[in-house]
């Protein structure tokens, strides 16, 4: 970073005759210099982000209008999009991503909210609460491959989960969780994803719960509201904005989940767990169908972009008016 001082020889000297104009010029020069310093500070990071996110994103859109034939890119217009809309596997992947994301989101929310409410209980001392909170966030720090492997071991034919199911629930044969029925495979993926992702909800909701002024509960109690009523009329409205924010972000992350499918089912059985991200990966990277993969990717991007823009609008509006807590 260039050192910026007010009294180096770099600024024009102020003469006695033209003192006022000199000072104005001098402060103007300082101002420009200050501005330049600011821009030179943010430039490296911004150039980096433009080169490695904005440019690839634009290339994805551009590639979706082209096709690679005999080593040359030819413009095909909306051909790939038309192809996608007629492609039953494209629609299959849309169905799969919805079947994965919606139940996962509901589970993340319910489990995250449940743990947050429990952690917020009065019987917890601060130390115990932080300890419990620490244990319960732990799954969140793990990578998808690491947790996929942990769960593959648990769900193994002769693993503990199958032991419990076979012995205690009286099933006759071990259950192939990830390779049996499509529905079971999808449920297993949702369960594993929930294990990885509920802490995000839990932490943010817990933060929200602790920000609710206790007076509100006291007032509700005075008015004779029971626990359930207090939850519905005090807790939920107070958490509304936070729940909206965390659900939106989690929707995008869960929607974009690729590793779990790639590692555990590879889209099977019967391509029923082939979510749209996996379909992009499969057509674009594995099959080398770059143009078509980009078209599917672009459609996915546009969908997510709408959601992100709405979310960011809410975020910035909340920041300006100070109405919302995020």
């Amino acid at each position: 970073m260039p050192p910026e001082t007010g009294h180096t020889g770099a600024s024009p000297p102020a003469s006695g005759v033209n003192r006022g104009a000199g000072q104005a010029r001098r402060s103007r020069w300082l101002m420009i210099r200050r501005e330049l310093t600011g821009y030179s500070l943010v430039a490296p990071a911004l150039l980096f982000l433009i080169l490695l996110t904005v440019y690839p994103l634009m290339r994805t859109v551009q590639m979706s209008f082209t096709d690679l034939k005999a080593g040359e890119w030819i413009f095909v217009g909306l051909e790939h999009y038309r192809e996608a809309l007629d492609d039953r596997w494209f629609w299959n992947s849309v169905r799969a991503v919805v079947a994965f994301t919606v139940p996962a989101l509901v589970l993340h929310l319910l489990i995250g909210l449940g743990f947050a409410l429990l952690l917020n209980e009065t019987w917890f001392s601060t130390g115990l609460r932080n300890f419990m909170r620490g244990l319960l966030i732990l799954p969140w720090v793990f990578s998808t491959p690491a947790s996929a492997l942990m769960w593959a071991l648990l769900l193994h034919q002769t693993g503990p989960v199958n032991y419990v199911v076979v012995r205690i629930l009286g099933q006759s044969a071990p259950i192939p969780f990830l390779a049996g029925s499509p529905r079971l495979a999808m449920s297993s993926l949702v369960a594993i994803n929930t294990w990885l992702s509920y802490p995000f909800f839990m932490i943010i909701i817990l933060g929200g719960l602790q920000a609710i002024p206790p007076e509100l509960y006291e007032a509700a109690k005075v008015d004779g509201a029971n626990a359930l009523k207090r939850f519905r009329h005090v807790t939920l409205p107070q958490l509304r904005t936070i729940l909206l924010a965390v659900t939106t972000i989690d929707f995008i992350f869960t929607f974009g989940q690729l590793d779990l499918v790639q590692l555990l089912t590879r889209g099977g059985p019967l391509r029923r767990t082939e979510t749209i991200t996996y379909y992009v990966y499969k057509t674009g990277m594995l099959d080398g169908n770059l143009g078509y993969g980009s078209a599917v990717s672009t459609m996915m991007l546009l969908t997510l972009l709408v959601i992100i823009v709405v979310y960011v609008k809410l975020l910035s509006r909340g920041g300006e008016s100070g109405e919302t807590s995020f």
């Binding site: 994805t60 319960l136 992009v280």
Partner: protein, 290 residues
């Protein structure tokens, strides 16, 4: 603090600590913790005992025979050591690069007037939220044509892209909280701006830098998709990919892979225990704007 569901016990006339409700929620919490931690414990157990115990029927819930064979195996195999080394190289470099670029940008956004800064910051956050898969096709081409395919640099840059956004946001909120007066006072005392930055801002920012670095480190440590497409062969393979490859192997050595998986997760647990606050701050950065 009053709770959302509390008060059942009190209405039954039992006092606070040993209320029925407190007991129930405590039990529920305990059960939850067991369920959540069981997969981790099972992995660690599997890495340190004979396979017969893990896959036996009934399975041994607590290890009876402890053996270090699996660890001896992965620590004597140069390839397995290489996976670990690669992960450390990529993660540390990503942390340094994201914190370096992020701190400069955050200081710029915090202390200088940047045209459209609100818009730029929100765009950065929005881009960071997009799934990595949406850019992997051009990313792969870009890496190939720039000559960084199958290099550490390629993977580090890919990981930095996603860690950088969070770094800028976290560090900006940090720098915002350091009063400008401190720098100005130092300037009056004869420091130039650079010295003021070095002597006043940097020490105050140090915890923020460590925290942000931790977050970037975790991000790179856990990356799987970019490490899969941006390299080839075993030389630069990080642990996540080695673990992922296990799923495609015909001869599965569950013992050794569980040892590697433990080596891939223990540092995360350690980081988490010591730097919990930072991990939480990083994970909530996108959802809670201060």
């Amino acid at each position: 603090m009053a709770s959302a569901l509390g008060g059942f016990g009190r209405r039954l006339g039992v006092q606070s600590y040993f209320s029925l409700y407190g007991l129930l929620s405590g039990l529920l919490m305990f059960a939850g913790v067991i369920i959540v931690l069981f997969p981790i414990a099972w992995m660690v157990f599997a890495s340190m005992r004979p396979l017969a115990e893990t896959f036996g029927s009934p399975p041994a819930w607590i290890p009876r025979e402890v053996t270090g064979d699996a660890y001896a195996k992965i620590f004597s195999d140069p390839r397995q050591l290489r996976y670990q080394l690669n992960t450390y190289i990529i993660s540390f470099s990503t942390a340094i690069l994201s914190v370096g670029l992020g701190a400069l940008a955050a200081y710029g956004f915090s202390r200088f007037r940047i045209w459209g800064s609100e818009f730029i910051l929100l765009t950065i956050m929005a881009l960071q939220m997009l799934p990595g898969v949406s850019i992997i096709i051009p990313f792969y081409n870009l890496a190939r044509s720039a000559g960084v395919w199958n290099t550490y640099l390629g993977m580090i840059m890919a990981d930095t892209v996603f860690a950088l956004a969070i770094s800028i946001w976290l560090l900006k909120s940090y720098i915002d909280s350091i009063p400008t007066d401190l720098e100005e006072a130092a300037t009056v005392d004869g420091c130039n701006r650079f010295q003021a930055l070095y002597k006043i801002v940097l020490p105050l920012l140090a915890p923020g830098l460590v925290g942000t670095g931790t977050f970037a480190f975790l991000y790179a440590w856990n990356d799987f998709v970019f490490a899969t497409i941006l390299r080839n062969g075993h030389e630069l393979m990080p642990m996540t990919v080695a673990i992922g490859n296990f799923f495609t192997q015909a001869n599965r050595d569950w013992n050794a892979i569980m040892a590697l998986n433990t080596m891939a997760t223990l540092p995360l647990i350690a980081i988490f225990v010591f730097l919990q606050r930072w991990v939480i701050e990083g994970m909530t950065a996108g959802a809670l704007k201060e």
